[in-house]
Structures are given as structure tokens and as C-alpha cells.
């Protein structure tokens, strides 16, 4: 896989990586804050709920124990047992009924929690229907809610049910107790307490909670709110322990997860259970997370916007540079790069501009050189127009001269042919110095044939230099110049050609004892061919090698002209590609 940082556009990379990092940071923050705070919330919630439930349990237990105690003391009251024993005459019975009714009545009136009291007995004298104290037939007991639990116990609490009374159906809890005297079962005293009072206690100050009051058997006595069904929670509460606790029930139904907190106390037979929807507990931390998320989102948007701006600002110069580079063409229209950057971008722009300028300069110089080279080549080609044809013609002319007995002409033609051959040299631009020297010797011999004995020449060189290469035909124009112009008015002349190694360069010196440069200038203009030849040599050397190589002409002090040619030491001809 390729490194995306090498693949994608820099502004997108910049923007996307920045945004990704930010979003990850914010998501992680929101999630950790949610999970941590909800964990903490569940812990504190269950802790405080448990404390609260313990308190409520205490309070409810206090009330209910009071009722139990009242029931106990009433059931052991002498008047009560005597009345129930029914060993009196009618009047006594009537009077003790009045006493019992009044005693029970006073309990009811004094303790607002008590809704009313029923006394189940044999042959009761019924009370007024509206009365809080009712004397009922013991045979009716079996029909009552609390009858069942009395089978096994001497006393017990009923679960919540509606007691019909003068004031309508009133929800009550009933505490029933068997009254036993000397092992005789006399009746049952049932104290009804207002369930709403207990409900109020169970509710406490927290409206909307879901709680259950359960008895020692774990049976639900009363519920508020919308708690779970009995069989859904009973497995979670340890009825044998006197310790409070809490359980996290993983819900399957629509209610979802539930926190179950229960309170059991060693001095109480009651279990208080509170159910709290998991969502409810964690809602505030969810809210927190939502807020963080929202803030994060806003921050992300803001930061993305800023990032976009920043990345634009960062990548704009790069883009400009890229555009400039893409649109760059030689000599074409230049893209303007901003000049107000003072930082790295500024250096980049300046560097790019400078480089462009350099390139332009180089290109111009290259072009110039190329032109010169081209020109030199063309000139070389021009100089070699149909050399083979000329060469063949010369051969034919030579044969004609031999046939005509013109020995001298034949010789000239032969020398010329040799010169041509060297001048052609298979189209190579560079030839060995030995060939170059052969070429100039041919030329000089021809001139000697013309001049007779007046023309002499000396060639000094060293054998190891003869293997070096030089651009071809660089000596002839100067020698020709010396003969044509230098010796113009003279009968004799000496030309001396010296080749030597001078440092890293090859130094060629062509001396003549002619009339020198000044005279040549004063008199008739130079012959076209001669001037052309020298310029050709100059340009070729400049074109091939440039500085410090080249040609200098100067007057000799003893008269005549000195031509000094500086060339590199070439052990083999340079390849064409070099030029």
C-alpha cells in the first residue's frame, strides 16, 4: 500500500488528518465521560437510594411495629379477653362491649394511621355500619384477605387491598392477630391501617420512583410506581441476609436494564425494593455526553473551518508554485508569484524565480552556442560541398594533366586531392594532428610550387603530440592568410608552425615574416575567403571549447604576424553528443 502522505493532495491530507484526529479525540472524550460518569452515577445512585430506603424502611418499620405492639397490648387487655370469653350476663356483656369499643375507638381516634379495627368473635353484637370499630362474626373471617396467612401464624400482615367503608373503598393494610387466652382461641383482632399513609412514607420525597414493600417471605405487600413483577425480581434479593444491596438487572423487555436496590434490616421484617430504569440513571450522563458531543461537534465544525482556512493558507503558495511550475514554458508568459511572503514560502518563491532566471540565462547561452555550432556545421558542410565530386574531378584533372605532360599541375592536383581527402576525413570534425600537419604540408607544397624557392616553412612538433586530436583545418586559413596577405608584396617568406604542450593546453604558434597585420588592414580589404576562414576557425573553437581556448593574432616585433591558437589536449575525438 502506498503511503497516503505521498499520494493525496496536501490540502486534503492536512484537512482530513486534522479533522480525523479531532473527531477521534472528541468521540473518545464523550465516550469516556459518559461511561465514567454513568458508572459513578450508578454507584452514587445506588448508594443514596440504599440509604434512603434504609431510612424509609426504618420509618415504615417503626409505624408497623407500633401497630403490632398496639395489637398485642389490646389483645391481652383484660376487658377484651373477658368480653371474648363471654361468661357474663347480657348486661355485663353489653357494658364490656361498650368498654372494648370505646378502648379500640380511642386507639383509632388517637392514631390517625389506623383506619379502623375489626374484632372477629363468636356471637358479636354488630356495630353501626359507619363505625370505625366493627364486631364481626368469626365465621366471616375465612373470607378475608388476611385469613390465609393466619393459618400458619398467630399474627400477620395482609397485602394492600381495598376495605369498603362508609367513606368508600379505602386502601388498607391489615394486621391480624389471634387472641388466645389459656390456650383457647377467642377471636381475631384486625387493625386496618391506611395504606396511603404507608404509601406516602414509601414514596418519601421522591415522586415518580418505583418501589415495593415486601414482607419477610418476599411477597409484595405494596407497590408504588411501576416496579417489576414479583417473579422478575425475587431471584435477585437475598431474603436470608439482613444486608441491603443492589443489583443491575439486564432487562430483556421494553423496560430495558434496571437498577434494583433493596433494603433489609436486622430489626425489620420488611424489604424495601426500588427499581430505577437504567436509562433514567444514566440519562444525565448521556446528557453530559450529548453536550460534550454537541460542543465537540461545534468545535469540530469550527476547527474544520479554521483548518480549512489554515490549510488553504498553507497550501495556497504551494498551489501557486505548482501552477507556476506546470505552466512554465521557455520564454512563455511568466506566472506572477506573490512577492510578499517573507517566510519559507518566500524563500521558495525567490529560489524558484532565481532558478528560472538561471534557466533562462542558461538556455539563452545554450541557444547561442547551439546556433554557433549549427552555423559551424553548416559552414563545414558548405566547405565540403560535393567534396567527392571535386575529389573525383581532381583525379580526372590529374590524369588529364599527366596525359598532357603537365608534371607540375599533376603534382598540384595530387596534393589537392590529398588535402581534400583529409578535409573530408569521413565527415569527422576532429582529426589527428599528424593529419592536420599533412594537410598543411600539402597546402604549403602547392604554394611552393607556385612561389618557387621563395617560400619556406618550418614545422616543429613532438611525436607524442601528433596522436592528439584537433578540430580539422584550423591551420590552413592562417597559413593562407600569411601567404596571400603577409607575403603579398614580397618575393620570399618563411612560415613557422610550432606545436607544443603548454600546461593542460595545446599551444599552436604560426609565425610569418610577412608585412604584418597593419599593412594588411591598410591595403585592400581582405580576401573574402581568407577572412571567412579565420572567422570560421575562431567560431569553431569558441563553439567547441569556449574560454580560455581561442585564437590570438598579433604583430611580431621582428615583423610579420604571430597567430597563437590554444586548444585542449584531446587524446580522442569528442563524441558528437558533447556538442
Amino acid at each position: 500500500m502506498t503511503n497516503p502522505f505521498k499520494k493525496f493532495r496536501i490540502d486534503r491530507l492536512f484537512f482530513n488528518s486534522y479533522a480525523t484526529v479531532l473527531i477521534i479525540v472528541i468521540a473518545v472524550t464523550a465516550w469516556t465521560s459518559y461511561s465514567n460518569s454513568s458508572k459513578a452515577l450508578v454507584q452514587t445512585t445506588s448508594h443514596y437510594q440504599q440509604q434512603l430506603l434504609d431510612e424509609l424502611n426504618n420509618e415504615i418499620t417503626t409505624r408497623l411495629v407500633m401497630i403490632e405492639q398496639i395489637s398485642l397490648s389490646s389483645s391481652r387487655d383484660n376487658e377484651m379477653t373477658h368480653y371474648l370469653l363471654n361468661r357474663q350476663d347480657e348486661f355485663e356483656r353489653h357494658r364490656s362491649r361498650v368498654g372494648v369499643e370505646s378502648a379500640l375507638g380511642n386507639l383509632t381516634y388517637a392514631i390517625p394511621l389506623i383506619q379502623g379495627i375489626d374484632l372477629y368473635m363468636n356471637n358479636p353484637i354488630p356495630s353501626e355500619r359507619q363505625s370505625y370499630i366493627q364486631f364481626r362474626d368469626i365465621n366471616d373471617l375465612t373470607r378475608q384477605v388476611y385469613a390465609q396467612c393466619l393459618d400458619k401464624n398467630d399474627f400477620c400482615w395482609s397485602k394492600e387491598y381495598n376495605l369498603s367503608s362508609q367513606q368508600g373503598e379505602i386502601p388498607v393494610l391489615s394486621f391480624a392477630r389471634k387472641i388466645v387466652y389459656n390456650d383457647d382461641y377467642l377471636g381475631t383482632l384486625v387493625i386496618h391501617i391506611k395504606a396511603n399513609e404507608i404509601r406516602r412514607l414509601l414514596t418519601g420525597n421522591t415522586a415518580g420512583s418505583n418501589r415495593i414493600l415486601a414482607d419477610s417471605e418476599g411477597q409484595q405487600i405494596m407497590k408504588i410506581g411501576d416496579p417489576l413483577e414479583q417473579n422478575n425480581w425475587s431471584q435477585w434479593v437475598d431474603l436470608k441476609s439482613d444486608k441491603s444491596g443492589y443489583v443491575h438487572i439486564k432487562g430483556t423487555g421494553p423496560s430495558g436494564n434496571t437498577l434494583l436496590v433493596y433494603s433489609r434490616m436486622d430489626n425489620s421484617i420488611w424489604t424495601l425494593i426500588e427499581f430505577t430504569s437504567w436509562n433514567e440513571i444514566t440519562s444525565s450522563s448521556l446528557k453530559l455526553a450529548e453536550w460534550i458531543g454537541l460542543i465537540g461537534l461545534a468545535a469540530v465544525l469550527l476547527v474544520l473551518f479554521l483548518t480549512l482556512l489554515i490549510s488553504r493558507q498553507f497550501t495556497k503558495p504551494i498551489k501557486q508554485l505548482v501552477t507556476a511550475m506546470r505552466q512554465y514554458s521557455l520564454g512563455g508568459e511568466k506566472v506572477d508569484l506573490p512577492s510578499d511572503y517573507q517566510n519559507e514560502f518566500g524563500y521558495l518563491f525567490a529560489g524558484y524565480r532565481k532558478q528560472n532566471e538561471r534557466i533562462d540565462e542558461l538556455y539563452i547561452s545554450l541557444e547561442r552556442r547551439h546556433e554557433q555550432q549549427k552555423k559551424a556545421e553548416i559552414e563545414a558542410l558548405q566547405a565540403n560541398i560535393n567534396p567527392h565530386f571535386l575529389y573525383n574531378m581532381l583525379d580526372q584533372l590529374n590524369w588529364m594533366a599527366i596525359e598532357a605532360g603537365q608534371e607540375e599541375l599533376s603534382r598540384i592536383l595530387e596534393l589537392m586531392g590529398r588535402m581534400f581527402r583529409i578535409g573530408l576525413s569521413n565527415g569527422n570534425s576532429f582529426i589527428k594532428i599528424s593529419d592536420e600537419l599533412l594537410h598543411i604540408q600539402c597546402y604549403l607544397e602547392i604554394q611552393q610550387l607556385r612561389w618557387g624557392d621563395g617560400l619556406n616553412y618550418v614545422i616543429e612538433t613532438e611525436p607524442e603530440l601528433e596522436e592528439l586530436f584537433v578540430p580539422k583545418l584550423i591551420l590552413q586559413p592562417f597559413v593562407e592568410n600569411s601567404i596571400v596577405h603577409g607575403f603579398n608584396k614580397l618575393d620570399s617568406g618563411i612560415i613557422s608552425i610550432l606545436m607544443e604542450q603548454s600546461g593542460n593546453a595545446l599551444r599552436v604558434v604560426i609565425d610569418d615574416n610577412g608585412s604584418g597585420l597593419r599593412q594588411a588592414e591598410d591595403k585592400q580589404p581582405r580576401r573574402h575567403t581568407g577572412g571567412y576562414g579565420i572567422r570560421n576557425v575562431r567560431e569553431r573553437i569558441a563553439g567547441y571549447f569556449g574560454e580560455p581556448f581561442g585564437v590570438t593574432l598579433k604583430e611580431r616585433e621582428e615583423g610579420g604576424t604571430r597567430v597563437e591558437i590554444m586548444l585542449p589536449l584531446l587524446t580522442e575525438p569528442p563524441s558528437k553528443a558533447d556538442f
Partner: protein
């Protein structure tokens, strides 16, 4: 360049502040709303009766089913008119009512508004358990005789709810069926006992002429009044039972008991007035019992059309009297005294309340409402009104009596009543016992 940078950081800062402000926004507005709301409420609670603060008034009365229903309806109407006022009614029969109220009062937990028997009023006023009803309650439309019973030292502590006549109710349908002559207004005690004896042959087994009133405080009071011997307990707070009259009375009932014209003691003791099953007259076991003029409706609701009213038998003087049926007062531990008094004013003075409450507490003591009710009264109420009118001309002057004798009447007298009823004491012994018991109540 520099300028650009500055504007960028400014932009970032503004955006951040914006976000923070948006977060904090909710909480702050909530707080300010709370703080703005609370002081306003507090001041109104402290300074004046707030017009919309929710108030729950506890009210307690006794009575029978029709009275309960009418009263509950009136409470509903009041809540409808004053949505901030709700009620916690406690209502029952007469049995245990005073015990309950006294217990609650002792615990400073009495209801705000209580219905009181005229006989208890002197005690309650003198003990300072009721609040002065002025200025909320208007007394201008009330019969002076009735309203004065709720006054002490020029202050009005309780409002009379109605006036009733003390008379008798009889099972007309049963008497007609048995061929027993109907009693007529203005009949005498002699006629009462004669009619009882006359009916003996006509009564089937288990049916009796009247309840056993041999030891009944109210009936004996009526008898002593009729005999011209005055109050049983004088307004000055003295025991004033005339021995001869009492013995005569008790002996006559002893005879009826022996004759089987009144129920045996255990049956008689099981009677619970107005209880559909346990009221002996309603159960068809007795033909006659005492009644107040406003109670006919209750019996009629048990056995419609069967019952009729007749004046209390007389002798030298009239036997019956007119009396305020009951009073309504505001207890001194009420936390919402102003609202409670306003309700009392509405309860006794407004026509709409009068229309609902009808005559279940007697003919309203408010004369305007009484007149309005009389204009379109039901036949039943007209019968009650008839007894009122028949008793009015020469009826005994009712008095709330002296304070401090309530227990004597409710406990000591009741014990003697039961002893008489069960034949435990002779009439003479009964009198002695009463006299002895009275010693501790004498002023």
C-alpha cells in the same frame, strides 16, 4: 498578515464564547425563574391570604348517608368555585364522633372545620377550642335565637346550620297494616302509653311498639318538660331530675318491657339509628322512635313512603321543642383559618350551598335560604316542616345547657340507662345513682 491573524483568533474566541454561553444558558434561566418565583410566593403567604395557594381543609361531620352525599356535593362545588381549596372530609355516624373529635383536639389535630352538637358548644367555646368567625362569616341573616347559642362574650364561635323540632317518627305503613291508630300532633304521654298497651294484641311476635326509652336522657327530658318540671340540668349547671317524675317514667317503661311492648334489652341495645339493617324501626321491629324533624328523609330513603312524623307527646306542657340542629365551627388549631371561615360563610350563607344541602341539617338557620327552600320543598321536607310548625307555637324553650355536663349525659346517664334496660336496677335505684353521679358535675 498580522491583521488577518488577529481577526482569526477573534473569530475563534467569539465562537467558543458562543458555545459556552449556549451551554450555560439553560441553567441560568432556570435559576433566575426560581429565584423570581419564590419570593413572590413567600410574601403572599406571609402577608395575606393568597388567592391561589393550594389549601387542603379538613372537615368532619356526622350524619347519615343522604347528609354525607349532600355535604360531599357541596364540597365539590366549593372546590369547583375555588380550585385552590380542596377538602379532606372525615364523616361517620354519631357513634364515637365526639370521642374521635375530642381525641383529635387533645392531640391538636382536630379538623379545620367541625360539626358540633349544640350541647357541646358551651364547653368548646369556654375551652377556647373554636375561633372567632368574624369578620369572614356574615350572621346578619340568621335567627337571633339560633345564632346566639354560638356566641360567647359577644363573639360568634359557631354557626347554627338549621333548626329542627324534636318529635317522633312512626311506621305509618306498619301501623295501618296492623290496624293501630295513627298518633296525632298534640297527643299526650297518656295517649302514648295507652296506644302502646292497645297495640299489644295486634303486634306479632318480635315486633314492638316503640324503643325502650326508660333510661333515655332526651326522652326523659321531654317527659319532664311536659310534666312542667323544667330542665333536667339547669342552665346554671344543677342536677334537676324530679325524682317522682323519673321513677314514674322509668316504671312505665319497665312495665312496657315486661309486656313485651318495647324490645328486650339486648335487642334494644343493638339498635343503631339510621342504619338500614340495625335501625330497629327500619328493620320493622318497632313502630315508633324519637326523631328530629329533618331525619324523615333518611328513613324514607330506607323504606320510602312508610314513615310519618308526629309531635312529641305532651302533658301539662308541650313535650317537644325547637333547637338548632348542629353547629359548624373552625377549630383553634386550624392552619388555614381564613380559608376555613370563608368556607363556613359560604356554607351557611350562599344559596347554592343551601340548594345542595337542603334540609339534611334541619331547616336552614339562614332565614333567606330557608324561605327560598320552603318555596319549592319536597313533600318529605314539607312533612318535616309540618312538625317544625306544629312544635313551634308552644314548644319548650331549648337551651344549650350548662357547660361541663357532656360526660354526665354521655357516660353516667348511659350506664344507668343500660342498667335500667337490663333490669339491673329499679327506677328508684337508678335515680339515686344518677343523683350520686351528678355530684361530681355540680357547679
Amino acid at each position: 498578515m498580522i491583521k488577518w491573524k488577529r481577526s482569526l483568533s477573534l473569530l475563534a474566541a467569539t465562537a467558543l464564547i458562543g458555545i459556552l454561553a449556549a451551554c450555560g444558558g439553560n441553567g441560568e434561566t432556570k435559576n433566575s425563574a426560581d429565584s423570581a418565583g419564590k419570593p413572590a410566593n413567600n410574601t403572599s403567604t406571609e402577608q395575606q391570604a393568597p388567592s391561589d395557594e393550594p389549601v387542603k381543609l379538613r372537615i368532619m361531620w356526622w350524619g347519615s348517608q343522604p347528609r354525607h352525599e349532600a355535604t360531599l356535593a357541596a364540597l365539590d362545588l366549593y372546590t369547583k368555585n375555588n380550585p385552590n381549596i380542596t377538602f379532606e372530609p372525615e364523616y361517620s355516624g354519631m357513634d364515637g364522633y365526639l370521642d374521635k373529635l375530642s381525641t383529635q383536639a387533645a392531640a391538636k389535630n382536630a379538623p379545620d372545620i367541625v360539626q358540633l352538637d349544640p350541647g357541646w358548644i358551651p364547653d368548646w367555646m369556654s375551652r377556647g377550642q373554636l375561633l372567632d368567625l368574624a369578620p369572614e362569616v356574615d350572621v346578619s341573616k340568621f335567627d337571633e335565637k339560633l345564632v346566639s347559642a354560638g356566641q360567647l362574650d359577644g363573639k360568634q364561635y359557631a354557626m347554627p346550620l338549621g333548626s329542627v323540632a324534636f318529635g317522633m317518627v312512626y311506621d305509618k305503613a306498619a301501623m295501618d297494616k296492623l290496624g293501630i291508630e295513627n298518633p296525632q300532633n298534640g297527643w299526650t304521654w297518656d295517649e302514648f302509653f295507652a296506644l302502646a298497651k292497645e297495640s299489644k294484641s295486634k303486634l306479632p311476635k318480635g315486633q314492638y311498639f316503640s324503643l325502650d326509652y326508660g333510661g333515655n336522657y332526651f326522652m326523659y327530658s321531654a317527659y319532664q318538660y311536659a310534666k312542667g318540671k323544667g330542665q333536667v340540668i339547669t342552665d346554671e349547671g344543677h342536677f334537676n331530675v324530679d325524682q317522682a317524675t323519673f321513677v314514674e317514667w322509668a316504671a312505665q317503661f319497665e312495665e312496657l318491657r315486661k309486656e313485651g311492648l318495647v324490645p328486650p334489652a339486648d335487642v334494644n341495645a343493638s339498635d343503631k339509628e339510621h342504619d338500614p339493617q340495625m335501625d330497629l324501626m327500619a328493620a320493622g321491629k318497632v313502630l315508633m322512635r324519637y326523631s328530629f324533624s329533618n331525619n324523615l328523609g333518611t328513613w324514607d330513603s330506607i323504606k320510602p313512603g312508610a314513615y310519618a312524623l308526629v309531635t312529641m307527646p305532651r302533658a301539662e306542657e308541650a313535650g317537644g321543642w325547637l333547637k338548632p340542629s348542629m353547629f359548624l365551627g373552625v377549630t383553634n388549631n386550624s392552619k388555614h383559618a381564613v380559608e376555613a371561615k370563608k368556607f363556613v360563610d359560604w356554607f351557611v350563607n350562599s344559596q347554592e350551598a343551601g340548594d345542595i344541602l337542603q334540609t339534611f341539617r334541619g331547616l336552614p338557620a339562614n332565614k333567606e335560604i330557608a324561605t327560598a327552600l320552603e318555596a319549592n320543598m319536597s313533600d318529605l321536607d314539607k312533612v318535616g316542616l309540618g312538625l317544625l310548625r306544629a312544635t313551634e307555637p308552644d314548644g319548650q324553650k331549648w337551651s344549650a345547657g350548662a357547660g361541663g355536663w357532656t360526660n354526665f349525659i354521655d357516660k353516667d346517664w348511659v350506664l344507668v340507662r343500660d342498667q335500667l334496660m337490663f333490669g339491673k336496677v329499679s327506677p328508684e335505684q337508678a335515680f339515686e345513682q344518677l343523683k350520686e353521679a351528678s355530684q361530681s358535675y355540680e357547679k
